[in-house]
Amino acid sequence: MEAYIGIDVGSVTTKFAVLDSNDKLVFHLYLPTQGKPIEMVQEGLKEVKKQLPKEVNICGVATTGSARYLAGVIVGADLVKNEITSHAVGALHYFPQAQTVIEIGGQDSKIILIRDGIVTDFGMNTVCAAGTGSFLDHQALRLNMSIEQFSQRSLESTTPVRIAGRCTVFAESDMIHKQQMGHRTEDILYGLCQALVRNYLNNVGLGKDIQPPVIFQGGVAFNQGIIKALREELDTEIIVAPHHEVMGAIGAALLVHEEMSASQQESQFKGFGVSEIKYRTSSFECKTCPNLCEIAQLSINGKILARWGGRCEIWEREPSS
């Protein structure tokens, strides 16, 4: 069996998708990153190995997400792709007619506009993470419920309260205030969903021409309250993609399949053995010039594998032994 692996290492979760040579999803995995991107990639690979048949041939590996470069060095990726393109490709695979992709993840949210199967514009939240998954997680925790309960409970709302959603810090104080005034929890929860959707549309979606079909993906697409609020606000059907939570990884796998077929090259995949290697990350301040760049490095047994973070090229040369 031939297989292509897409790995999406995000701030909050790490996603794996394995496609066969017909681009059919054969296995996917959704793990919490817990601030340990390297360990999670290793753990995920172990799981992938367990699930795939013995005689599998890995023909291509791609990484995406905010830790794509780090993950790429560890697994020996054939392709390192940004998460915006990956999500667009994933969405188009399942919905060739898609015109708008809304993606809300743990720390960032995106909007991608597509016309005639080509991305024409995109937006991503800039300075503020308001309205993303980690805030919802945090609020669920504060109200002592799971994020699944949050999702169900918000649908029971009959008279949602208005919550200031511009900034998550103020949204939280506003929520507490509404709680202390005696509003029902479900009304507060759905009010929060509405506030976050408003904020998303006025911030990330500002000035974007949102046309149906609208595809919703990313971890937050699990949340029924957000889906409902989006549908109400946009007044259109919101299509939640199948496997929406791993769509970035699927997109990356699709892209690497395309690339490997075009180039006819062997995969640089380092094999499932990388799960057993002990990696070390460290950083230092380069003092060569007054820029004082923070250089991060990845090493095994004192041997440098890669370095990042400089403004100039001096640390980017091929790592010497």
Binding site: S66, K81, N82, E83, I84, T85, D116, I118, V119, T120, D121, F122, M124, T126, V127, G207, C289, P290, N291, L292, R311, C312, E313, E316
Partner: protein
Amino acid sequence: MRIGVPHMGNLYIPLKALLERLELDFVIPPANNRRTLSLGVRYSPEGMCIPFKLTLGNLIEAAELGADTLLMPAGSGICRLGYYAKTQEQVLHSLGYDAEIVSVGVSQRKLLGLLEAIKRLSNNASWSKIISAFRFGLAKLNVLDTIERAVQKVRPVERVKGTANKLFAQAVSATEQADDYKSLKRVQTDYLEQLSLAERDESAEPLVVGIIGEFYVLLEPFSNMDVEKELGRLGVEVRRSIFTSGWTKFSLFLNPLGVNEKDRLHKAAMPYLKRDIGGEGWESVGEKVLHAKDYDGLVHLAPFTCMPEIVAQNIMPSTKENIPVLTILCDEQLGKPGMLTRLEAFVDLLKHRRRAKVKV
């Protein structure tokens, strides 16, 4: 009296040449770095833009080196730059530096004012000496810009990544050291030749992206996170709307050719914006209209809180001349990884767009 100047890209090189030829005592503060930025951020009033913060940092660092007479551009356009010199002077005074800021008018009609300011600073040097020093500074500026234009063409197609950047760094320091026209000329010829000899991918047809927006963030790579180098690394050829020499030509002189590029831009922007809104806002809209056909995309750089560019950003989507625009707001809060993600996605978008066009 010791003169100090703020940084903007490589502008310090011609300034240094000018001040040296006038035999003045001066200091060039360290190139923009993290300390400059934190000083600037710390002592700037709330809501100031990155050009203000960085130049303030430069002026403080110059004052630390004993400068008591600081040159700062002011004037031109209706943006807040007009009063930066005054505000920065107050900050410096409150920090205990007894420094005077000489605001140098930089608008088309102020060349005389600028020359007069130099005359006053130079202890009444003769006009011929001033003009000759000025010309030499400008010559350096032109050499730097000529070489940089060549660098922009080599970056996307070079076989060994980083070749052009390395040559450019060498060329900059060689230009700085050149002390007469002859050696200056040799620097230009030498480096243009080396750049033309750099091994390149002949089959590459790089995407062409115009860099437009506010002049300071365009000309100071530290403030825009080296957006040009990063685009070059992604295989994109950049065409920057403003070069230091062009900027000084517009703002310090009446345009010698008589054809004003700015007029052309204003005319193009006319259907969408009928008046100057300060800074380069009017020009940004015009750039989009004029270049929609010949570029693959535009990267629009603006300082965070820059009103003219925010207005331009919101006008641009409604022009009928259609070309993808990526706006990047430059600020001390701008994170490099986030910017790279956007640039990479933007380049993918442009590639697919070009491929689709070829098919049709």
